[in-house]
Amino acid sequence: MESPAPTTRASSPPPAAGWSLPGIGLLKGMAVTAVNMIQSYYRKDRMTTVQYPEERAPISPNFRNFPFLVYDGDNMAGLRCTACSICEKECPPQCIYIVLDRDENGKSLKRPKVFDIDVSVCMNCGICAEVCPFDSIYMDGQYELATGDRFGGLLFNKETLARSTDYHAQLRPLEAAEVAARRKAEEEKKLAAQAAKVAKAKLEKEQKELKAKEEQEKGTGA
């Protein structure tokens, strides 16, 4: 931690002139404020204030606020969430509460019975959206959430959280398109796999049948 020999002298800015009149620095400062005062009336870059309710600052597509759930199709039935609880576990302020829906036999239906987010606790970090393996939770851009009811009004449930894929596409076209493409590819892969499986099963069945037939024929022949 030795201070090395100074190598360069400061070139910019000069801290103070060599010989100055008292008050010259003050006058310089007053000139700056005067310029700002005058220019604030006609130069856009001087005034950053946005008059909020009348006009709004543009929101970048990356902007994130509180999470929402995505469903495919037209209604809640297509909710992508499988209640896997990964987001619940990773959520830093632990504001997600999920209960898995089960049928009467106790078998998982792979969908949430309860999905609550307490947005008064949520800190908009976006980790839930990041960790979700089912592309079902994303960050919303909606920020006008003021409510008169500070308990119920800020506790969002499954119904209030759910949004259609169109909404997502509108909010973040790039991301949504990417997700849609990926899901489509996966879907096709899955379909293809299923088709292949069916075909294979059919083939096997046919072969089996053929074999049986052959054996039968052999047997009858024998």
């Binding site: 100074p6 190598t7 360069t8 801290p15 005062m37 950053t48």
Partner: protein, 427 residues
Amino acid sequence: MRVPALIALVLGSFPSLGLAATDKPPLLTGESLPRLPQRLVEMALEALKAPDWLVSLASFATAAGTVVAVFLSAFALLSLIERKTLARAQNRLGPNRAGIFGILQPVADGIKMLTKEDIVPTKAEWFLHLVAPVMIVIPSILALGVIPYGREWLPVPLELGLVFFFATGTMTEVAVFIAGWASGSKFPMLGAMRAISQMISYELPLIISALSVVMLSGTLSLADIVAAQSGYHLGFIPAWNILTPWGFVAGIIFLIAANAESNRCPFDLPEGESEIVAGHMTEYSGFKYALFFMGEYLGLFAISGLGITLFLGGWQAPLPGLGFVPSWFWFFGKLAAIIFFFLWVRTTFPRVRVDQLMRFAWLCLIPIALLTLPVAALWHFTANPDGSNGVLSWLLCSAILAVPFIIITVIFNRRLAPSLRTYHYAE
């Protein structure tokens, strides 16, 4: 003895507090517009055959009421304009929600102040705590009464106007002390100590710089001081005191000292909010707090008005041939300019420290202010018979007044030698 007669007797026994002006200007000219209410009241009472003492009392009350009304509305307006101007200098918009351009903001502020809880701390002395804000407002209003606002508009034509002004000003110190002490708290106490020492220190340059004007005008009456600055040199340069060497220096000193007297940035130590919260006003709330603000702003108007009267020619027009404009217009124009300057300073300057404040007053302002006195005398004795001053007189007076400035420059550069810093870089 009936009570009204007693009042009349009491009032009558303050002979040269002369109450209101007694002349009768024409009713409806631009010049005498501000005196219209007073004249109307007088005429109404005379028509009703009211006794003389009642007429003069009512006339006085109306004249005083006019001034108070004008300056209270100016206070309301200034509280908005100040916020707007500061906001613009800081590239903000300022209040613009209450009414168009936020014009109703003062009303909103007033309602808010009035509806707030009036808190009196347990340790406070409630009576003195109550008295202080009232005592802050009274001297400002009294001082506003003696300033000549226009050719026809001088609420109280006092022979000793200037002395009266400074005498009322001293009451503010007591009020500030009472406010700080009676709050029974530490920040107000610190603020009051700062305020008193600052006010006492800056009262001296204020008075001394005003003295040179008194010397050359030969009167303590503010109306006569304005009258002494009438006329134009060379036909277009107004004969204001600020346009003489001694008047220029004294005027600047007056401006600085006035700024400090009204506790405004960069001399706002008594209420320096980043250090001692709000100084002597810390424990006040609601309307009492509003009264402090009112007193402060009225005091600002009063002291700026005095500066205008002493140095800027009062209500005199800046150029000849502008006589058709009512003279009070010029007064308020100058007032607006001075107050704008104060606002501008406020946006730019950081606050000074207590010891620097004191050193500035005692080592810088007071000596220079004292120097303006002999220079003013020299100016008077080197004047031509017609009252104007020759080039030699100008040069001599300017040269003498330049000496302290040169000394200050030298000391400034010596003292601030550590400020000529170079910074090094390590690679």
